[in-house]
């Protein structure tokens, strides 16, 4: 029982006007099930943005669970997106690998509208393997923010979801094994090692990362799924890998994603990067993954955005919901008109081939103007699907 949740439920339950003919939950779920929706769902990744939108600073909510939850629910109540994204920063990924007294030297809390920066916790492949082999992440978990901050925040949002009779789903996020493999050592080190280290040693490291992720998944089964969570976003790593590296090593992500999808019926995958076409092929063949939040391939991009939207939509036909538009850069620095145009382009290019969800390929930056976020919502809401 949470006071902040009960306050919001009392204020909102039964008092909100409907948005379209479907509930937010029904709309997002239907799109991910590749079924007809009344309008294209809108679920931008507002995790950082909603904190400052609600009037808090990132420093202010860093250790305050109630304010974190308050920000997420207030943002939803005002904007009525089709999902609530749990707020999360990257501290949860590495805090449980290091003892409390060492954590301050690994984190920099940036400005009021910014976020947390971390420094790597292993500098060689041997160090990284040792961290996992000794299960450091189990030793230091209990006083980490994963337990002290994110778990209660997650439980509060799920409590809100359930008390509101599942009008709106809460989206949680889990990083994939490759994301962890890169994060704990810094991506540039990991990339080099794929070339210069023995393949079996890299494979061993990635398998250890997979085991840790699967252990973490059990936590999510117990505390998220059993409390009503059905929507899970997988944050992929491997954004600058080539096809050869994906073929060699990315199976750990596929294995993990399929396990996640067995627990969370609405699992989708966030992936961006240099080799996006190849990565999207892999993801679209992954059992149980119902949507892909994607970005642009960064080079060789001779295609226009509408052409790219269509190419991806064709690839996802009969398999996944396409989640994109506008770009996070345009959302932050474009005009409302430009945001609206890109949302329209995405919908026009996608709907003939698969379902769509307005969800930029990355998190919405804290500096993104409110009117641009509203523009993406309003544009989608203005278009009824016949």
């Amino acid at each position: 029982m949470s006071k902040i949740v009960d306050q919001w439920v009392e204020r909102l339950k039964g008092k909100l006007p409907p948005v379209g003919e479907m509930t937010h939950w029904e709309r997002l779920a239907a799109a991910m099930d590749l079924k007809k929706t009344d309008m294209v769902p809108v679920a931008p990744e507002l995790d950082y943005w909603q904190i400052t939108y609600a009037g808090y600073s990132h420093k202010e909510i860093y250790n305050d669970v109630d304010k974190t939850t308050d920000a997420c629910i207030k943002t939803w109540a005002d904007l009525r997106c089709d999902a609530i994204w749990m707020y999360i920063d990257i501290s949860h990924q590495i805090e449980n690998f290091i003892p409390a007294e060492k954590r301050p030297e690994h984190f920099i809390l940036r400005g009021d509208k910014d976020y947390l920066l971390f420094k790597p916790i292993a500098h060689t492949l041997d160090e990284a393997i040792a961290l996992y082999e000794t299960k450091a992440y189990e030793r230091y978990i209990n006083d980490s923010r994963a337990v002290t901050h994110y778990t209660p925040h997650m439980l509060q949002l799920l409590e809100f979801q359930e008390k509101m009779d599942r009008q709106v789903p809460v989206i949680l996020g889990m990083a994939t094994p490759t994301n962890y493999a890169e994060t704990v050592v810094e991506v540039q080190n990991f990339l080099r090692w794929m070339v210069v280290e023995p393949e079996d040693k890299m494979r061993h490291y990635l398998n250890l990362c997979l085991q840790e992720r699967l252990a973490s998944l059990e936590f999510y089964r117990e505390y998220a799924a059993k409390n009503g969570c059905q929507f899970m976003c997988l944050f992929g790593g491997a954004r600058t890998w080539g096809p050869k590296h994906l073929d060699k090593f990315a199976d750990v992500d596929r294995i993990f994603a399929e396990k996640v999808a067995e627990i969370f019926p609405y699992t989708f995958w966030h992936h961006c990067g240099h080799n996006l076409p190849k990565a999207l092929d892999m993801i679209s063949a992954t059992r149980g993954v119902k949507g892909v939040q994607y970005d642009m391939p960064y080079y060789g991009q001779t295609v226009t955005w509408p052409e790219w939207f269509e190419e991806v939509a064709r690839k996802f036909h009969g398999k996944q919901c396409a989640m994109n538009a506008p770009t996070t850069q345009l959302a932050c620095h474009g005009t409302s008109q430009q945001v609206s145009e890109m949302v329209d382009q995405f919908i026009d290019a996608t709907l003939p081939h698969t379902t769509a969800c307005i969800m930029p390929g990355c998190e919405i930056d804290s500096f993104t103007p409110v009117e641009n976020v509203k523009a993406m919502i309003d544009t989608a809401r203005a278009r009824r699907i016949k």
């Binding site: 950082y48 920099i108 940036r110 910014d114 976020y115 920066l117 971390f118 420094k119 810094e186 991506v187 540039q188 990339l191 080099r192 794929m194 070339v195 210069v196 954004r239 600058t240 890998w241 080539g242 096809p243 050869k244 590296h245 961006c272 990067g273 240099h274 080799n275 960064y298 080079y299 060789g300 770009t327 996070t328 850069q329 345009l330 932050c332 620095h333 474009g334 990355c362 998190e363 930056d365 804290s366 500096f367």
Partner: protein
């Protein structure tokens, strides 16, 4: 072995990511009578150019590029002390650093050798830089260019603030500002007050040449 063969071996070593062999190859080339500038421009830099062609063709990706850069630097470190300081191949000087909040060196480590191989002298300021570091570096080094490295979308968005600080210091007119990294967008960079942005080092070189009027 002819000098042409030495040059070809150097370029091939970069392409092949031959870290073990590069030192010997550079020394052999110098011993064969090649000048340090020839070793750099015709051998090592040619190798990086070829890596760039393969990168843009999707034949190699960032992991291979990073290792090729390491090999280039290993060779460069041998010839750099021998190079004449008034090298006419230099087209400009850049102060380059990772924008506030970004510690990923992946892009900068690729950009530096590619830039140097194309006549852009690079002064590496480091990572996660306070905006004032760029201001002080402009005053100290008098560069024509400022390079803002960023790996993530969120840190790219800090460009506006960095440009504002440089402008308030009265230095904006003295430099061209270019952003680089996988999440940059040229239009957004210009809206934030920078001159351009590129998501790979070779594209950045072409844009820098245009900014400097050297295209």
């Amino acid at each position: 072995m002819s000098q042409t063969n030495h040059i070809e071996k150097l370029a091939t070593a970069i392409e092949a990511m031959d870290m073990a062999g590069i030192s010997t190859l550079v020394k052999d080339a110098l011993a064969a009578g090649l000048t340090p500038a020839e070793v750099l421009s015709k051998g090592l830099s040619e190798g990086m150019r070829r890596v760039g062609v393969k990168f843009n063709a999707g034949e190699v990706y960032m992991p291979e590029v990073l290792v090729a850069c390491d090999v280039y630097f290993a060779g460069l470190n041998i010839v750099r002390p021998l190079l004449a300081t008034n090298d006419e191949t230099i087209i400009g000087t850049m102060v380059l650093g990772n924008i506030h909040g970004d510690i990923h060196t992946v892009g900068k480590q690729v950009a530096m050798p590619v830039f140097e191989a194309n006549g852009i002298r690079v002064i590496d300021l480091g990572e996660n830089l306070n905006d004032n570091v760029f201001v002080e570096a402009i005053k100290k080094h008098k560069p024509q260019l400022v390079g803002l490295g960023t790996y993530m979308t969120s840190t790219f968005m800090h460009t506006a603030e960095t440009v504002r600080v440089i402008t308030e210091a009265g230095l904006r007119d003295q430099v061209k500002i270019i952003c680089g990294g996988p999440a940059v967008d040229a239009e957004a960079a210009r809206r934030m007050g920078a001159d351009d942005a590129a998501d790979d080092a070779w594209e950045a070189v072409e844009k820098i040449k245009k900014l400097l009027g050297r295209a």
